[in-house]
Amino acid sequence: MLDVKGLAKAAGGGGKEEIKIQRQITLPWSEAVRISVRNVTIRLGRTMITASGIVLGIAFLSSVWTSSVIQDGLQRAQLQQERELVEATARGQGESENANIENFTGISEEEQQAESSKRVWLVVMSLLVCGVGITNAMLMSVTERFREIGTMKCLGALDSFIVRLFLIEAVALGILGSVVGTILGHIAMLGIFSLRERSLSVAAKMDWGQMLVYLLLCILVGTVLSLVSAIAPAVRAARMRPAAALQTEI
């Protein structure tokens, strides 16, 4: 049976005895974060697919940077070894040949330059891969939720709420994806170099301070990239007329 008294209270009675609450439209940040994070965690399968674009791109970037830090470390170690060798011989022969030490060591200037421009090229490439992958993933995840966006607008959401929800989601996804990607790329490179050098000393030889900076940079890049690439689709979706958003079928 229907509770008629409850019913009378449920609707506004055509505005006759309207309850006076604040007449405004809001979406507090706390609620927005809660909703967005739930969206990310509940659609775990979907999140994985979206995030995999970020993971792959950032893993590439992280591996490029890791390998360069490892190579620097190995080079420095080698340099050290050679220098010790030369010093040992020099001590035997007297001070006069000290000036020649530099000639024995390291790689030539041109080689170094070629190496560094190759690295820049790789980093740029991986950023591009990242950007395209993430933009695509974001576009997909916004497009498949047009109907939901239309519904939210019917319930009184402003365009800015929709944008806010998607951007928070993008940041959450960005952090998640790039942390995973960074770790994967890093570990993969450590593994590869350890195998190649047939020793675990690779890790000991590298500059961990610099490595950490690069790894954090990876996470930052991934997060910023996913935020930036989510802006366009989110704004486009938010601006849609609710009728059009509701009509889309996927």
Partner: protein, 295 residues
């Protein structure tokens, strides 16, 4: 957009209603913004075309409403010259065959799309004159929507779906949860608060949608084929629920349908065909018809 002054630190803040704390000293501004509503009401009145009408008999009026969809070269006229007056507290059904323009009319009245020509008034306020914020306010507070496909947010539980419009309306958490529970209880889902939409049957999902439509005590409930995806029995239950609501609380219900079951709960039935009003049936005519069917 309005300028308000922080009561504590005197900071001038430009707000569209989305800022609720002072950016400088963090004091809660909702009360100050609340008092702005007087201005809002004033503005509503000035926007209203006919100022002499103080207690509006008609909650919705449309005048010469036209909607033409343009698809490349072809123009599809979905609505041509709809003049419709809906009385406050009325239960109005809009009947018509598929493609006759019911959903299009629903979108115009609900402020979900803009007409090609003509005007639509809600409580004598011309919707074409409202800015984005005022439209959102209208959708949030004045109108409750029910769809054929339920359109619940899939990742949210029943109670979260029902309380979402209340979040937008700035209601406090405790009040919100209590009202959400009350509404779900009302539609017979008091024991399904934490179920996700996919854990509910179609009829139950539509009940959640009805509860959600009532979240902010709207003056109008707009339903576009609310029974379209339901079987006969479940559809009837939803209709009875809407009728009961309409009778008990006086909320105006406008429902598009091609379901004949809807007819005998309606105060009036508007028949549309090819985007035009064919005829309007009054209550006594409907009774005759329904009686005739029974005989």
């Amino acid at each position: 957009m309005a300028k308000i002054t922080c009561p504590k630190c005197g900071e001038q803040i430009e707000t569209d209603g989305t800022i609720t704390v002072c950016p400088k000293c963090g004091v809660d501004l909702r009360e100050v913004i609340g008092s702005l509503d007087v201005d809002y009401e004033e503005r509503m009145k000035t926007i209203a075309r006919d100022e002499s009408v103080t207690t509006h008999e008609f909650i919705v009026r449309t005048r010469g409403l036209k909607k033409t969809y343009v698809m490349g070269e072809i123009e599809v006229p979905a609505l041509r010259d709809i003049d419709l007056d809906v009385r406050r507290g009325e239960y109005l059904s809009i009947m018509g065959p598929s493609g006759s323009g019911k959903s299009t009319l629903f979108n115009m009245i609900g402020g979900l799309d803009k007409p090609t020509a003509g005007r639509c008034f809600i409580e004598e306020v011309d919707m074409a004159q409202l800015d984005a914020f005022e439209l959102a306010w209208l959708r949030c507070r004045k109108i409750g929507y029910i769809f054929q496909t339920f359109n619940l947010i899939p990742v949210m539980t029943a109670i979260e779906n029902v309380t979402l419009p209340m979040i937008f309306a700035g209601m406090g958490t405790d009040e919100m949860m209590e009202r959400g529970r009350e509404l779900l209880d009302l539609v017979g889902l008091g024991d399904r608060l934490d179920h996700k939409p996919y854990e509910l049957s179609g009829g139950q999902q539509q009940r959640v949608a009805v509860a959600r439509a009532l979240a902010n005590s709207p003056a109008i409930v707009l339903a576009d084929e609310p029974t379209g995806n339901l079987d006969l029995h479940t559809g009837k239950e939803i209709i009875d629920l809407l009728k009961e609501l309409n009778r008990a609380s006086g909320v105006t219900v406008i429902s598009a349908t091609h379901d004949l079951k809807m007819i005998d709960v309606s105060d009036r039935v508007v028949h549309i065909r090819d985007g035009e009003i064919e005829r309007i049936e009054q209550r006594h005519e409907i009774e005759l018809e329904v009686g005739g069917m029974g005989a």
